[in-house]
């Protein structure tokens, strides 16, 4: 199943990206190669030391949207720009995209070679009579294959993120595995396991009632409920390691593992701290109002997960995976 989901995520992603790039190209979303006529209000003229014109590109909302299509801007455009002439007589325009830039230019800025810096070439520039305004005809650098580029960047980015996350786990993992080892040697894990046996035996019937995996799982669940993610993950991984000792077929998930994961993905939390913090930051009158609803939501998720793991593990297609290993 994971195989199919994995390949569908990738295939769907690339297909949608390619499709959307083709649609942009066909719909001429970025008006690649089409000249745009703008008024340029001069603020600084070239001086002997500096061969650039600095000023503001001025366009009405209507003019901008006629060029780029409806919705490209929602107000009149006033955009700072620098026009400079290089030695060969060709002039270029550089636009630094900011908060007040029109939508379409912001979008193009996100995909520009240098982020938020649009460039184009100036076809002609005619200074007005007063010398303070000029009419400029310019052609922006073409924007193409936006989504495919984004997909490529995301793939490389996320690969690096995955390694960072894993490496970042080393410290807390070492800390908690060390503490757990002491508790194990001292016999504390056995005591916790025995205390909770009536409860855990029902949840994980395949695990022997005095197995250390049970203690690790209980501590993982308790840490998750308290929102102690840093402690919960190492304990959960310790539990997986212990569960794997009972695994007759290495590399294949056991029933107990799936039930345990169901509890973890259900995410039962007594105080959803992150959501509350975001609500408070957004100016909520009562950030904690979601505590009750979240407990109900995650409670239902957890119960449904446990029930589903019990029912699905009996299905022939999932049983086969387990029994093949015993033969």
């Amino acid at each position: 199943m994971l195989n199919y989901i994995w390949i569908s995520l990738i295939a769907l992603g690339i297909l949608v990206a390619a499709g959307s790039d083709i649609a942009d190209e066909v719909g001429d979303r970025y008006r690649n190669g089409v000249p745009l006529d703008v008024r340029f209000e001069v603020a600084k003229r070239p001086s002997p030391l500096r061969a650039t014109w600095e000023g503001t590109i001025v366009l009405s909302e209507g003019e901008f949207n006629t060029h780029y299509g409806p919705g490209a801007a929602d107000s009149a455009v006033r955009q700072g720009a620098i026009i400079s002439a290089d030695g060969s007589g060709r002039s270029t325009v550089v636009i630094a995209v900011g908060e007040s830039s029109p939508f379409r230019w912001k979008e193009m800025g996100r995909h520009a070679a240098e982020k938020d810096r649009l460039t184009g070439s100036v076809v002609s520039m005619k200074l007005g009579g007063d010398g303070d305004t000029a009419s400029v005809r310019m052609v922006m650098e073409p924007v193409r294959f936006v989504k495919l580029k984004a997909v490529t960047a995301a793939a490389l980015d996320y690969a690096a993120t995955a390694v960072q996350i894993s490496i970042g786990l080393i410290g807390v993992m070492a800390l908690w595995l060390g503490i757990m080892k002491v508790a194990e040697e001292a016999g504390l894990l056995k005591i916790i396991t025995r205390l909770l046996a009536p409860f855990t035996h029902r949840l994980f019937p395949d695990v022997p009632p005095d197995h250390p995996a049970l203690a690790a799982m209980i501590m993982n669940i308790a840490a998750n409920m308290l929102g102690l993610n840093n402690a919960a993950t190492p304990m959960g991984l310790k539990a997986m390691e212990e569960l794997n000792r009972l695994n007759p077929r290495l590399g294949t998930a056991t029933n107990a593992m799936v039930t345990f994961l169901a509890i973890n993905t259900g995410g039962l939390v007594l105080i959803p701290a992150t959501a509350i913090a975001v609500r408070a930051a957004a100016g909520s009158a009562n950030p904690g109002i979601i505590i009750g609803t979240s407990i109900i939501g995650s409670g239902c998720a957890t119960i449904a997960g446990i029930a589903a793991s019990r029912i699905l593990q009996r299905l022939p297609r999932y049983r086969r995976g387990m029994e093949a290993g015993n033969g």
């Binding site: 508790a183 991984l237 993905t265 505590i291 609803t293 939501g297 995976g321």
Partner: protein
């Protein structure tokens, strides 16, 4: 009552880790365990476990990254919105439902954005934050937990995780509509 419950849990959360240090290590000393040596022995495994996760997490996150960057999520949201409107789920929150199992940071972003646009105390704001609190990043958990013990054949784990997610989201829609509509 809710305030008291919150204060109680917060205190527990703060006290839990120091208390565990004291109890676990103290118990070890009582039982004459060489705590320092045993701690180091156990901590050694931290490195190998974390490194073992890397290939699984790379595979999972790259697929999720490609999917997110492509805009496929927005497309799915648009396709599914008319269907989910039937069960009282505002279409805005659908992106939350689809993002939640895939990416923790992504769904955090969606929640923040929805609250900025609609206000944290609007129906959409409350529903989005309840949804965020009602589930975990299923695919991340799958990759990390199974990766740590080298499980490649996950059997029914993916359908189970998705069933749990759907149940959590439906429960969130139901309870928020019941209490805040």
């Amino acid at each position: 009552m809710a305030e008291f419950f919150r204060a109680l849990i917060n205190t527990l959360a703060v006290a839990a880790i120091p208390a565990m240090f004291v109890v676990f290590l103290g118990w070890g000393i009582l039982k004459k365990v060489k705590v320092y040596e045993v701690f180091v022995e156990g901590a050694k495994e931290g490195f190998t476990t974390a490194v073992r996760i890397i290939p699984y997490l790379v595979a999972m996150l790259v697929a999720i990254g490609i999917f997110r960057a492509s805009g496929a999520l927005e497309l799915l949201t648009r396709l599914l919105a008319p269907v989910t409107a039937l069960i009282g789920m505002p279409p805005e929150t659908l992106s939350m439902v689809l993002m939640r199992p895939l990416s923790g940071s992504g769904s955090l972003g969606v929640m923040t954005e929805l609250m900025k646009v609609h206000g944290p105390d609007s129906l959409i704001g409350i529903m989005a934050s309840t949804m965020y609190g009602s589930s975990e990043t299923t695919f991340y958990v799958l990759a990390v937990y199974f990766g740590s013990v080298g499980i490649k054949e996950t059997r029914h784990a993916v359908p189970v995780g998705l069933i749990a997610d759907v149940a959590g989201m439906l429960a969130a829609v139901w309870v928020v509509n019941l209490l805040f509509r």
